[in-house]
Subunit: 225 residues, 2 copies
């Protein structure tokens, strides 16, 4: 393994260990020694990549706005739906993503690092504004309001569903949320063409190539069947 | 002041002090001494009412499902909307309410005390199930799904809006959320009669009598103009 490749892998191991520990203990109670124990690597290796707990938390949050599995669609509204469904599918499977929500709702961590919600709102707004220009949305639909409210609604649906005894499946919940909202914002001709199936994100991820993360949002060209 | 009246007042002072401290520090970092300092009452008085930090947190959560300002309406959907708007109006003004959200999103506190979300979901479900029976909802609308998703959406919209730099007004946000969702779930004849104005909760509270808290949900008869 090349030196640089090993460094990338080591960095990733620390981020994932830190994410798990932040997720379990919260930011305040998370300690470097527990993170080291989880990562099973040396303190020296850690400090080469991250000089403090703060740097680890920032590293976790930096990984949180991700568009893996995303690919261009006929309708911009579909791309917006895809972002939300993909994140719902990946979150319970990836500690880095659940830790970033945990850090965002933790007021101490939030005051130190802020949250990634504004980035998600901006990403949604870009897609919805184009959708509006293309006539996919109803006249009265305001892209900025919808973008902001849906990032909130998505986050709360995740929090509440994860706390309920029967723990409803997050992708199913987000799909139901779109079923409630889309009739009020998209034009009927587009509405009938949209796919909000809970099985969609798994299919999108299977079709995506690994190198297709974030930059692909504006440049991606993965084939869609 | 009668002895019992004084005891009720003292208990309330401790709950509000605890709520402020939980809200600022989180459950783990909150300490009895800071709560005492805030309440400006003696340790003996505290222990007469609450034997531990756990008991204080439980007391705060017990106050969190509240229907002050709620009164019977022509449409059950309107009563459901009123619950959400009233809470949105009161939350930024009442530390007991914001602390209960803080305790619900804090995983440590949540594992100790669970959350009040199931109660809110049940309250919403009762109203929506009756609305459905009365023909206020569209055929495909499922009261259980809508009740669950809206409690989540409301919570997340509160969390995200409170974190944004421009801090949009919570009542305005919740009103916009209903504007997105109602066209997809209520029948058109009812939709036109619903009031989701951000100024509604303030008016409802002004009309409510103080003794009209929780029990009024099923028995209330406050006059509506």
């Amino acid at each position: 393994m090349a030196k640089q490749e090993r460094a990338v892998r080591t960095r990733r191991i620390f981020l994932e260990a830190a994410a798990e520990v932040f997720d379990e203990y919260g930011y305040d109670a998370a300690s470097i020694s527990v993170i080291l124990e989880r990562a099973q690597l040396t303190r020296g290796a850690l400090y080469f990549h991250f000089t403090s707990k703060e740097a680890l938390a920032q590293g976790v949050l930096d990984e949180a706005v991700t568009t893996l599995g995303f690919s261009p669609q006929t309708y911009k509204v579909q791309e917006w739906i895809d972002l939300a469904l993909l994140l719902a599918y990946r979150l319970p499977r990836e500690p880095l993503l659940s830790a970033s929500i945990r850090l965002s709702v933790d007021p101490k961590s939030r005051s130190l690092f802020s949250t990634r919600w504004p980035d998600w709102i901006q990403l949604s707004l870009d897609l919805l504004a184009t959708a509006k220009e293309r006539g996919e949305l109803q006249q009265h639909a305001d892209p900025a309001t919808i973008a902001r409210l849906l990032v909130g609604a998505w986050t709360g649906v995740q929090l509440v569903s994860s706390s309920l005894p029967q723990q409803p499946d997050l992708v199913g919940e987000v799909s139901e949320l779109f079923a409630l909202i889309l009739p009020g914002i998209t034009v009927p001709a587009v509405l009938t063409k949209l796919d909000i199936s809970p099985r969609r994100p798994e299919r999108l991820l299977a079709e995506a190539r690994p190198e297709q993360d974030s930059p692909a949002l504006h440049e991606g060209s993965a084939p869609r069947s």
